[in-house]
Symmetry: C2
Subunit: 396 residues, 2 copies
């Protein structure tokens, strides 16, 4: 087993215990310098030549391959770009085209809303009688019937950390003839994912959470390699063309995963991500998962022992939980503000969820103990009960 | 009239005359420091709180308002995000929804290919009998007939600089009952645009060319204010929702231009753009256009006098030309490499186009003279005739 945590690879603020890597990962060391170089030496000096000489054009596939290793996907099956919402749209539109005689998209209420919104938008756009059927997460598996074109689920619930059984649901979907799309927003870099074994058709995810790519870092999309050349991209932008610089008047998709590229990639933003990915060198997801479960179990045990007013709403069984733990508490919003004021940064999700992410890259058992000490003080001494903590100005 | 150029506001490499601002604008001074601050002080120290305390969430509309001034659009009518390809898709899908009984999209062969590709993708996706009708640029106006749902044109041709009459074509489109979409990729920051007067329904554009936002800078979309609340976004991402952090399960669009937002914005990339926009403080597009025409006329006159092997393919009349000038030359590819080697950076577009952009923010008459000196030497002394210049490795 490798040595965790790798706290020395991050620039964390003094006095902060950061339990919100599930929302925005912290700054890896060296990213600022790398970005400075990209701005001054690459953009500033190479100017337009940067596309040729600085590796900008290949960056979406180069970084895609870095992400691929962490989600059990082969080289050449993942490409970066756009936002997760756009990648959901790409996967879902391709999936519907693969099942032209079916008109139902199945998802669950634990999905992150933008996935559902993008599906709604696609349905309106196609105007061909499609339906989005949304069930409770625990009913998702049983709801997979033979009228379903695509099953679109987020593996790990953003509020509770509840984790679907990716392999089982994928098998059920495919047995019913449906295409399977997994959103790995709260999985990539957090739990073990093996897309090759899962055999799902598509996966998408973001990189600003557990992959520490920075605010607004680009998203990724995976297409199962045997399908790639059959996908007809709906968002058929020029950089997905087989020969973008031929400037043909009509679209011919690239023969590779590059057909899922759309427009000009965000070079500066992706440079931050590319460098941030280096903290994963030599890291195995098995070790991350093992350590994350240990930290999460410790947190649950200590909080339940010391904060009886908090109720665990995450699954108790680690095997069905991602890398975050949530508790409900009536005054959760104010309590989270009080916690943040004291250097323990988690986040809040309406109506009453206090959410804590455990990221073994930069957290260890002593951090968990210290965080619970402060949490217990905030809750048991009613430190949250101040007007300043109750003003809902936070947007995330 | 203000003082141009403002070369002191840019970090241009020594010994370079940069005539490719129409492809990638150069680095404005201060951007590197601002981005450094966003990485280390904002992301690094504020972490997730940055969304609240560092202005990240409002950045797409804040920067949109900066762009709006340069394209004659009112405050609150422009929002940033994604790529130009995605913005084309948003505008076009919204336009088609506004004319449900019409099935034709009109464009021209001078459009940048990705606009045509995105239209193709949308048509395939809708699978409802839509057609993309593409005519020669000079025939676009006459081709506006009453079966056309949307006219989608790029104002300034990326190869030749040929400039459409925005006001006339918009009026013709609307007289025929069509929705008008303008792509301002080669217009914003280059020529005078007045969207309020033009009355077109939509406009889109990019910011890495004349707006100097850096490689992969985000795109913009304008919606005519009276239409905004009637647009049903096809790419209905969570940040276009009226209350993104309510995490509703179904989509309700924001009442403002924010409904054209999709996913999480690229904060670092947009921070570079936001600072780059400061070079426009106090700059009026009338003055830019006047200076750009003077530089272009000078270049044409001098090249035609001194390089008879080159043939002007841009319109001779400045009123119908954007801020770039193109010449055809049989050995244009090699000649451009030879020029670049000598510090004059333009670019090449197949099959034989040498393209030069004139950006008065950082170019003056002496730069034009110096560039023509070198060009004349390259052409007249056959300096392009070396194997190294003929290897087509350039991607842009």
């Amino acid at each position: 087993m490798m040595s965790l945590p790798k706290k020395h690879l991050f620039d964390l603020p003094d006095g902060v215990i950061y339990l919100d890597g599930n929302s925005l990962g912290p700054l890896p060391k060296g990213v600022a310098e790398k970005l400075q170089h990209a701005v001054t030496a690459e953009w500033g000096q190479a100017l337009i030549k940067g596309w040729n000489t600085c590796g900008w054009m290949d960056q979406p596939t180069r970084v895609g391959n870095m992400v691929a290793r962490l989600i059990g996907a082969p080289h050449g099956s993942v490409v970066m770009g756009d936002t997760l919402s756009i990648k959901v749209f790409q996967a879902l539109s391709a999936a519907l085209a693969m099942r032209p005689d079916r008109k139902v998209i199945l998802s669950d209420t634990g999905n992150f809303p933008t996935d559902l919104y993008m599906a709604e938008g696609l349905i309106r756009l196609k105007d061909a009688g499609y339906t989005l059927r949304t069930v409770a997460p625990q009913d998702a598996s049983a709801a997979i019937t033979e009228d379903i074109a695509a099953v679109m689920l987020t593996e790990v619930d953003y509020r509770t950390g509840r984790k679907h059984d990716m392999h089982d649901i994928t098998r059920r979907a495919q047995n019913a003839g449906a295409v399977m799309i997994w959103d790995l927003a709260h999985s990539a870099g957090a739990v073990e994912v093996n897309l090759t074994q899962a055999r799902c058709e598509f996966a998408v995810g973001c990189t600003y959470k557990y992959l520490n790519g920075g605010p607004g870092a680009p998203a990724f999309i995976y297409v199962r390699p045997d399908l790639t050349e059959h996908i007809e991209p709906a968002l058929s932008g020029w950089l997905g063309h087989q020969a973008p610089f031929a400037f043909d008047l009509s679209y011919t998709p690239a023969p590779s995963i590059e057909r899922m590229r759309v427009g000009t990639p965000p070079v500066l933003q992706m440079t931050a991500l590319e460098h941030a990915m280096q903290v994963w060198d030599g890291v195995e997801m098995y070790d991350i998962r093992t350590a994350s479960l240990a930290l999460s179990e410790q947190f649950i045990t200590e909080v339940e022992a010391r904060c009886p007013d908090l109720t665990l709403i995450s699954p108790r069984d680690g095997a069905t939980r991602g890398s975050q733990v949530s508790f409900s508490f009536e005054h959760g919003y104010a309590a989270m503000q009080a916690l943040i004021d004291r250097g323990v940064i988690g986040d809040f999700r309406a109506p009453n969820v206090m959410r804590f992410g455990f990221t073994p890259l930069y957290l260890d058992a002593s951090d968990v103990t210290a965080a619970v000490d402060i949490l217990a003080q905030v809750i048991n001494d009613n430190l949250w009960d101040k007007p300043a903590y109750k003003t809902k100005s936070r947007v995330t």
